[in-house]
């Protein structure tokens, strides 16, 4: 079936319909990762957006549900050059076509995704519609596209109620150490699948309790903490600061999440209180932006954002550069940063934008990129160690 992608500037791409049978209006963004489409689809930060993958061959390894970063796909639409006809991977459970249909995600394939990317790059992120209606009327659609905003999406993606996750007691709980897993043919034939290999080689968070404010958290943030031994309590985004503080966590983790940070007025108010609490805080992506807003800084919308797995970020103290996974359309405005409150900790090597802050005289540091990876490089995973040391220091003091 034919499908159309209509952009608010009037550009129309004709392709083939994929996934669920439905029409959507969404913000159109592109992601430059070459692998990890399932992680992208299920990253809650994509709520309110339809994602175009710049890599043209998608679906090659099918769907391994174990790799989902949340309970469901959040991207509202999926735009690809070509969907693989067959999936091929030993863990594959279904094809991406089946997954998109089952989970209600519509999409379009067979379009010139590079041309689309160039439009978004040159004109900036814009809204669009994916439809199978051949009789679309541009004059009717475009005003609707212009009207669309992602709105208060954090409310949609956060958990309903608070829950606990236990930290790993030993490395064995995390599964085999990367690469050391020996293949057991007999088990495999019986349908026993090996756990994913773990990159973590030290349990050093035992006994630490982390409060994770779920603004649309990717599973691997929880996993990164529990695999290091931390016990994690996950709170809905609407939780008050008082409630969190009352639980006496050793540290607070603010997660990633979707949308314009300035829409999260309620969370910002609570963060102001957490800032005063002296509990160590580590924040990622939206959490990083909200902390900045809570302490008087500003954020702005980038032309087309950073979405991909190849962004270099530099630690301004050590000079070390990490390749990071990123997904953000807004960024902290460092011009409006008060050095008495916070200073730049990381910058993006490509465009010099802010990638992290360290708060003055506070046990707070926040990053714009994704040390939890999934998808993308695991190079900056050590930041969780830094958070653990911070909590440990505070606890021992």
């Amino acid at each position: 079936m034919k499908a159309f992608l209509i952009l608010e500037d009037g550009t129309v791409f004709e392709g083939t319909h994929i996934g669920a049978q439905k029409e959507i209006i969404s913000e159109i963004v592109f992601n430059t990762s070459m692998v990890g489409y399932l992680e992208v689809l299920t990253d809650p930060s994509y709520a309110g957006q339809a994602v175009c993958m710049t890599y043209p061959l998608i679906g090659n390894y099918g769907i391994c549900e174990d790799d989902m970063e949340s309970k469901q796909p959040w991207a509202e639409g999926f735009i690809v050059r070509e969907l693989s006809r067959i999936p091929s991977n030993f863990r594959c459970e279904k094809t991406i076509q089946e997954f998109l249909e089952e989970r209600g995600v519509p999409g379009i394939a067979g379009i010139d995704t590079r041309a689309l990317t160039k439009i978004l790059r040159d004109k900036g992120t814009m809204n669009g519609m994916i439809t199978t209606n051949e009789n679309y009327q541009l004059e009717d659609i475009i005003p609707k596209l212009k009207e669309y905003t992602t709105g208060k999406v954090v409310e949609k993606v956060t958990c309903e109620s608070k829950y606990d996750l236990k930290g790993s007691k030993s490395l064995a709980d995390n599964g085999p150490i990367s690469g050391s897993s020996q293949f057991n043919k007999a088990d495999f034939e019986k349908g026993i699948r090996e756990p994913k290999p773990s990159m973590i080689r030290k349990i050093n968070g035992s006994g630490l309790r982390v409060a994770l404010l779920d603004l649309g958290a990717k599973k691997n943030i929880m996993r990164s903490l529990t695999a290091r031994g931390c016990d994690v309590t996950v709170y809905p985004a609407s939780t008050t600061a008082e409630e969190i503080i009352a639980d006496k966590p050793d540290g607070i983790m603010l997660s990633n999440g979707p949308g314009d940070p300035k829409e999260c007025t309620g969370v910002i108010e609570e963060l102001k209180k957490l800032y005063q609490s002296d509990i160590p805080i580590f924040a990622i992506c939206l959490g990083h932006q909200l902390m900045a807003l809570a302490t008087g800084a500003d954020t702005f919308k980038m032309k087309y954002g950073h979405r991909g797995a190849n962004h270099p970020v530099k630690d301004v103290v050590t000079g070390k550069v990490y390749i990071s996974s990123q997904n953000h359309g807004y960024v902290v405005d460092t011009d409006k940063l008060d050095p008495k409150v916070a200073t730049t900790a990381f910058i993006n090597v490509n465009d010099g934008t802010n990638e992290g802050l360290v708060y003055t005289n506070k046990d707070i540091f926040t990053v714009q990129f994704h040390p939890e990876a999934c998808s993308g490089p695991q190079d900056s995973g050590d930041l969780f160690e830094r958070f653990i040391s911070m909590m440990r220091r505070r606890k021992d003091a």
């Binding site: 692998v35 061959l57 693989s84 590079r114 160039k118 090996e194 550069v321």
Partner: protein
């Protein structure tokens, strides 16, 4: 970190002659590195024995030594030039080994030379099997269970412990020489014994066989501050068991989830961090297809073939950045030259699919085994880019220039399903065609996968291609179907064949319906940032993004495609120089080529680079977009020449010598007419199509005769026939492929072979020098030792050659380059052949005469005159030194290949010996080619009757040098009768000890074995030669070569200090 201020004079070691496993990629890397160093204000001293390379040009480095790559030579150069640093990791394994040896001996420290980039300690950790394994164990990176052995018994014991099959990998060898998989003890003993001998340190690794696992590679970079990035992942379509150089490779990896991908990526970074590599590095993994288990196969702590491929696949200039890192820069300080906006410290992300296919030499060595193993056999490779795997595959197939253009190009329709399954077990270069046929016959993916271990995803992609074939065949050809076929990159001629229409009809239907190629940009960032580098590939069904160019005149330079025997790196040298010369003259330059190893496909050589197959249709797509003012075909070897007619049909003017004149040189009748008019003699001959006609001509001329197809390079299919029977045999071989042009049969003249490369402006001709071949006629010019200036012919012959060259160039209206080969019999000169285009010897003769022939040819092509360019026409005065070009072979890599020299070219590369005296030049040339004698002072001589006279002289000279001479029966009799003491050895089928036992005993320096006239029928001779080659014994098959070698050895004895000649100085003098 800023640049290290102590580095001012850098010595760069090249990789030497092109051999299988070490090819043009090191010219690309070395050239990029030298340019990068010069950009930083360094003085660069370059050493490389290979004269065909671009890196050995006077304008790439400040001082250029085309000298043998030996420790002694390097030490002398270091003493003379006093560099403060040495960059060893740009010259492949050869360069790296030399750098290591110089460091280990303390020589570098003694002379205040620092090793730049990766340190010797790191190199040892990465290259020494034992240290590497220990390091991997330390950081928890798994290796396959393995043991380094230094003798066969230890290998047997270990194999019994871990079980067969086992893989054997000798330490410190190129392209996996001497390695292999042993399925049982007999095979183990054979391979292990050989591997121990070939290893520089006498070590071989015996390891658990992981054949059939996915082979995944990462190209990584690390700077001195410890910043690590990966440039590109690559997945081998052929699983572990086939050398990656012989595998079809796709980039990026296609069948890995993020979990597997990141696991291996992290491991790669973990490894280079632990090894402390600074610069580029290649890490190879084996990944279990149905679990997360992986093994590190190996690490190459240097630029490599894979890094060249990764550079071209992503646009990231690995060698250039590695050179800057060596100077002390960190990745975040180096600009990304492609975007000009971002920095080198990021990971390229690509929005297309890249496929590389090796160019295997089985069309040259028809007796060789086609099987692919862990020992590399490919001489070169092609790469293609598309937005689908199918498209990239189809483009790569037709880029090979091996009479293939789709998955039906090898016909296996006769094979039954059972036979196909049997055939699938054979791992060779035809495997994808067999898989395609199996799919057509309904074999399911699981069965194919179980036999080949090729991933289902790739099998499905091949299936999609076979389904399209079937649909096209079935018809009707709708616009939609045509669109889809083009999206999958089916060329028009294949669609025409399948649909029963003509190619013209298909093309018309396409154009009528707007189905035309679009061009996309390679930009390292999947369009995230605006890029400025015009590096393009074609796709169908997308919009084009080629930028409107400046109002300059545009010239199309056609490259020479994959490196193969007969068409090597020389033509890349010519294409690149022509491009630079056009640019200097104010032209906008456009290069089309498909070889990822070369300098010409570097993104900053031409104004625009199109990475595309070199077929008429693909070229026309580019012509439609670019509308060039002209095209030059004379620099890109036969690949470019073959496109002449098509370009003219497209209305593109051919710059320089016109097509009809090229034809006149190739067309027998036209050429004979020209020779008659110009009164130049040639050997009598005739043109034929069939064996019957050939026999008639041969009998009229009298045997021996030379049989060859026209319009070929490297004498492909050329043979000397001595009987009707041989004519039949050779004609059958030539006519395996339909010949568009007649076959030539000429009387074979025995004399001295001479050669010139010249530039002609239509009026005047400039002949830089005359080259003389050491081997008499009958040995292909590319396989002959070539001497400049010609040492043994009379002035009269030289004058005649100059005069004939002038007449021929004029009669053929040559504008640009011409190459002419002559035979001198006494003072009589005959012309053998004329090629109005660049030749293999152009770089060599340019460098040793200091006359930049390609530059001059380019200027002449755009209308300048030789006199205006500051040169006096005619034969230039001879140099006051000798420069000898020595062919280098890769026979040990190709099991079963006939090594004896003949009219068909077999060498893969060349090196140069340049010195004040002929003897020293010859000595250097042999040294450069790796003939480093004496070792045991024992030689075996077995020659045909006609050579016995000369053999006596050669043997006597060897005897004088203290050699013990062994000879087979009749040779021994002849030698002993002449008073040369020769020990008789038995032939192979006689009782032990035989000649084979002697060779296998490893105490022999040299075998001189001249095969009987024509193709050697004797299995004995073939076996002797193969055994010698495979056991690492030098083997000579022509008496002239033997004479040259003994002369060189006599000279070696008295050789003191070598004289060193800086080519850059010659270049300056020449100008």
């Amino acid at each position: 970190m800023p640049k290290n201020p102590n580095v001012k004079r850098v010595l760069v070691i090249g990789s030497g002659p092109i051999v299988i496993g070490q090819a043009a990629e090191f010219d690309y890397a070395g050239t990029q590195a030298c340019r990068s160093l010069k950009e930083e204000g360094m003085e660069v001293i370059l050493v490389n024995s290979n004269p065909a390379t671009i890196m050995t040009d006077g304008d790439i480095a400040d001082k250029v030594y085309i000298e043998p790559l030996t420790i002694k030579v390097l030490e002398e150069i270091i003493i003379k030039e006093k560099p403060d640093s040495l960059l060893p990791n740009m010259g492949g394994q050869a360069g790296l080994n030399l750098g290591m040896e110089l460091d280990e001996s303390g020589f570098l420290a003694e002379h205040g030379v620092t090793l730049l980039g990766t340190t010797a300690k790191t190199i040892k950790k990465a290259e020494d099997r034992l240290e590497f394994k220990e390091t991997m164990e330390k950081i928890g990176e798994p290796c396959a269970p393995s043991l380094v052995v230094e003798n066969v018994q230890d290998g047997i014991d270990f194999a019994n412990k871990i079980g067969y099959p086992v893989v054997l990998r000798p330490a410190y060898t190129l392209g996996g020489s001497g390695g292999g998989i042993a399925n049982n003890q007999v095979e183990l003993e054979e391979i292990l014994e050989n591997g121990l001998r070939l290893s520089r340190v006498g070590q071989v690794l015996v390891e658990r066989c992981i054949a059939g696992w996915k082979e995944i590679e990462f190209e990584v970079m690390r700077d001195g501050a410890g910043n690590c990035i990966t440039i590109c992942s690559m997945e081998n379509v052929d699983p572990v068991g086939v050398h990656t150089g012989d595998s079809i490779v796709v980039a990026p990896a296609q069948t890995l989830t993020d979990k597997e991908y990141q696991m291996l990526r992290s491991a790669a970074l973990n490894i280079i961090d632990e090894l402390g590599i600074t610069g580029g590095c290649n890490v190879q993994f084996a990944l279990h297809p149905t679990s997360f288990e992986y093994c590190v196969i190996e690490v190459n702590p240097r630029v490599s073939r894979s890094s060249a491929l990764a550079s071209k696949a992503t646009g990231y200039p690995i060698a250039k950045v590695a050179a800057k890192i060596a100077l002390g820069y960190t990745l975040d300080e180096i600009k990304n030259a492609i975007t000009g906006k971002t920095f080198a410290c990021f990971e390229p992300t690509i929005d297309y699919c890249v496929v590389k296919i090796p160019r295997l030499p089985f069309d040259k060595f028809i007796t060789a085994k086609r099987t692919l193993t862990t020992q590399m056999k490919a001489t070169g490779e092609v790469m293609s880019i598309s937005d689908s795997f199918e498209g990239a595959m189809m483009k790569a197939i037709r880029s090979l220039e091996q009479h293939v253009d789709c998955l039906r190009s090898y016909d296996f329709t006769d094979l039954s399903k059972e036979e196909l399954l049997e055939r699938l077990k054979v791992v060779d270069d035809q495997r994808i065609y067999i898989i395609a046929e199996a799919i057509r016959k309904g074999v399911d993916y699981d069965t194919i996968h179980d036999i080949t271990m090729i991933d289902h995803w790739f099998i499905d992609k091949l299936a999609i291609l076979t389904e399209m074939e079937a649909e096209l065949e079935k018809g009707p050809l709708t616009v939609e179907l045509l669109k889809e076929a083009k999206r999958l990159e089916f060329p028009d001629n294949v669609i025409a064949r399948l649909t029963g229409k003509t190619e013209e009809e298909i093309k018309k239907m396409r154009y009528d319906n707007g189905i035309v190629a679009a061009f996309k940009m390679v930009d390292t960032c999947a369009a995230e940032f605006e890029a400025t580098t015009p590096y393009y590939y074609s796709v169908f069904g997308s919009e084009t993004e080629v930028v409107e160019s400046h109002p300059k005149k545009k010239v199309l330079v056609l490259g020479s495609g994959p490196i193969r025997i007969g068409q090597g790196i020389e033509f890349d040298y010519c294409s690149v120089h022509a491009t630079w010369a056009f640019a200097r003259e104010g032209y906008e330059t456009i290069i089309i080529n498909n070889n990822p190893e070369t300098v010409s496909t570097d993104f900053d050589i031409a104004d625009k680079l199109y990475f595309e197959p070199l077929t008429p249709e693909d070229v026309e797509n580019i012509v439609n977009v670019e509308k060039p003012d002209g095209a030059v075909v004379q620099f890109g070897g036969q690949t470019a020449i073959k496109l002449t007619e098509s370009l003219m049909k497209m209305g593109v003017p051919i710059l320089g010598t016109q097509a009809k004149d090229v034809d006149a040189a190739e067309d027998r009748e036209l050429f004979d007419k020209i020779l008659e008019e110009t009164e130049i003699p040639r050997a009598a001959g005739g043109t034929v199509y069939t064996a019957e006609e050939a026999k008639a001509v041969a009998n009229r001329l009298g045997y021996p005769v030379l049989v060859r197809p026209s319009y070929v390079l490297g004498g492909q299919g050329m043979q000397i026939a001595i009987s009707d029977q041989e004519i039949e045999e050779f004609m059958a071989v030539i006519n395996r492929y339909e010949q568009d042009h007649p076959i030539l049969v000429d009387k074979y003249l025995q004399g001295k072979e001479l050669e010139v490369d010249a530039v002609c402006d239509g009026t005047d001709i400039l002949i830089p020098g005359i080259m003389e071949h050491i081997e008499r006629t009958g040995v292909h010019s590319g396989d002959s030792i070539s001497v400049y200036p010609a040492p043994t012919v009379s002035e009269k012959v030289k004058e005649t050659i100059a005069e004939y060259s002038r007449r021929l160039a004029k009669a053929l209206h040559v504008i640009g380059l011409i190459n002419i080969q002559f035979i001198a019999v006494g003072d009589e000169v005959y012309v053998i052949e004329v090629n109005p285009r660049s030749s293999r010897t152009v770089p060599y003769i340019s460098k040793v005469t200091g006359i930049p022939i390609v530059d001059l040819a380019t200027e002449v092509i755009i209308g300048k005159k030789i006199r205006d360019l500051g040169y006096e026409p005619g034969l230039q005065p001879a140099a006051d030194y000798f420069a000898i070009k020595m062919p280098v072979f890769s026979f040990e890599k190709i099991r079963g290949a006939e090594i004896s020299l003949g009219p068909e070219m077999k060498s893969t590369g060349e090196c140069l010996g340049i010195a004040k005296t002929f003897n020293e030049a010859l000595y250097k040339a042999f040294l450069g080619a790796g003939v480093n004698l004496p070792k045991y002072k024992q030689v075996i001589i077995t020659v045909k009757d006609a050579d016995k006279g000369e053999a006596i002289d050669v043997a006597r000279r060897f005897e004088k040098l203290g050699y013990t001479i062994y000879a087979t029966r009749s040779t021994a009799v002849a030698l002993n009768d002449a008073g040369v003491k020769a020990r008789k050895v038995n032939k192979i089928n006689q009782e032990s000890p035989t000649v084979m036992d002697l060779i296998l005993g490893h105490k022999i320096d040299l075998v001189i074995d001249t095969p009987t006239q024509g193709r050697d029928k004797s299995r004995d001779g073939f076996l002797i030669r193969r055994t010698a080659i495979e056991t690492g014994v030098n083997c000579i098959t022509a008496m002239d070569t033997a004479t040259a070698l003994v002369t060189s050895l006599e000279n070696a004895a008295s050789q003191g200090e070598l004289t060193l000649i800086d080519i850059a100085t010659i270049a300056k003098r020449g100008n």
